[in-house]
């Protein structure tokens, strides 16, 4: 069979149109499925330092977290394991003080925990992929995978990670059977209560705070409680200049 030039051009033109139409259809259906799927979530927390200061020596959130997650309490500070803790204001926000504010804020404790960064340096340095940022913004650790090299501890600019230098079990007073303990040689930190988020519960620290100083919510949702507060009040992050993008905000 002999094909004329006209027939050849017509055929090739039609095939190009057919291929383009198929591609277009495929991208259309794919984007349609995406918009129907789950909305993007990014969990975040706002800590109201004014409310947090109200009751002196209050440690309700810390106790609730550490007992829920079987965090060991070692007397020796060199072996300390902590998920949530307090540090003096001037150490946490050295940039946010003048000689006059120092008079009121000096020594006032600030609640600290893992910042669940947008771009977590701990994830970048982990050689075995044991720590990573989930799609909902929670930075988690796979204790099964962790080899205890402590690169993540060196990389974290917030000191949020602790290493188990010894078997933590003897140092846990009350064991919560629903949460595993850790073992000697793994790194651990706050997990934003991902086991509670799975049950649609707020983190243990948020629930335990009687002053309602901790606000937890979805940062991606413009009308969520936390976004409203962050819009209406002045909030700071820890070390924002590093570009890690913390999800924990402090209302000064």
């Amino acid at each position: 069979m002999k094909i004329t030039r006209k027939q050849f051009l017509r055929l090739s033109g039609l095939s190009v149109i057919a291929v383009a139409a198929k591609k277009l259809l495929r991208t259309r259906t794919a984007s349609g499925a995406n918009s129907e799927g789950e909305k993007a979530v990014r969990w975040g927390m706002a800590i109201d330092l004014q409310k947090c200061r109200q009751k002196e020596g209050c440690n309700g959130c810390i106790k609730a977290c550490h007992s829920a997650h079987n965090v060991p309490q070692f007397a020796d500070r060199a072996h300390e394991v902590k998920w949530i803790w307090k540090q003096p204001f001037e150490e946490v926000f050295p940039f946010a003080q003048t000689q006059y504010t120092r008079e009121i804020f000096a020594g006032s404790p600030v609640l600290l925990m893992c910042n669940h960064c947008d771009d977590p340096p701990c994830q970048d340095v982990c050689p075995v992929g044991a720590t990573w940022r989930r799609d909902d913004g929670v930075v988690t650790v796979d204790f099964h995978r962790c080899i205890g090299c402590r690169y993540c501890m060196a990389a974290c600019p917030y000191g949020s990670r602790s290493f188990n230098w010894q078997d933590p079990r003897p140092a846990i007073t009350t064991v919560n059977a629903d949460f595993p303990t850790r073992t000697k040689g793994v790194v651990e930190k706050c997990n934003f209560c991902e086991e509670r988020l799975a049950k649609k519960l707020a983190p243990a620290c948020v629930e335990a705070c009687e002053e309602k100083a901790l606000l937890f919510g979805d940062l991606e949702q413009p009308d969520s409680e936390i976004r409203k507060v962050l819009r209406s009040r002045f909030a700071v992050q820890r070390k924002p200049e590093l570009g890690t993008g913390p999800s924990v905000y402090y209302l000064i």
Partner: protein
């Protein structure tokens, strides 16, 4: 001809030496091989998968559960019979099987298979939900 006792004696010693494994085997007491006694759950008749599968492949299942919960946030397991289980070693597995010592360990020590160190982190006493040490 005067070498005969030496040759015979040497032969006897040689044969006795070569056959020592046989004599040792005969002289030792027989140990009866009894399959390990595993304590099965009293109230439940079905596991999360058919028994034959669990017997050969429970480690793969546990590995999948671990990846699902830790990595993919999928905590529910739909069993072959349509029942839904929590992917939890402490709650679901030990919830029925009760004691790790009377179930896991008996078979593992019988077959000489080392257990992964599950229990250095996971709680093996599910009944005491909040036990005080």
């Amino acid at each position: 001809m005067s070498d005969r006792p030496f040759i015979l004696g040497g032969l006897i010693v040689f044969v006795a030496f070569v056959t020592t494994p046989v004599w040792r085997d005969v002289s030792t007491r027989r140990i009866a091989l009894v399959a390990p006694e595993i304590k099965l759950p009293a109230q439940e008749k079905h596991c999360v998968a058919p028994i034959s599968y669990m017997r050969t492949s429970h480690m793969q299942l546990l590995d999948e559960w671990r990846e699902d919960v830790v990595r993919d946030q999928q905590r529910q397991y739909v069993a072959y019979d349509g029942k839904v289980y929590d992917k939890s070693l402490t709650r679901t597995c030990l919830g029925c099987h009760g004691s790790r010592g009377e179930f896991c360990d008996r078979c593992h020590s019988y077959s000489g298979v080392s257990t992964l160190n599950c229990w250095s982190c996971h709680n093996d006493s599910p009944l005491a939900a909040r036990s005080v040490r």
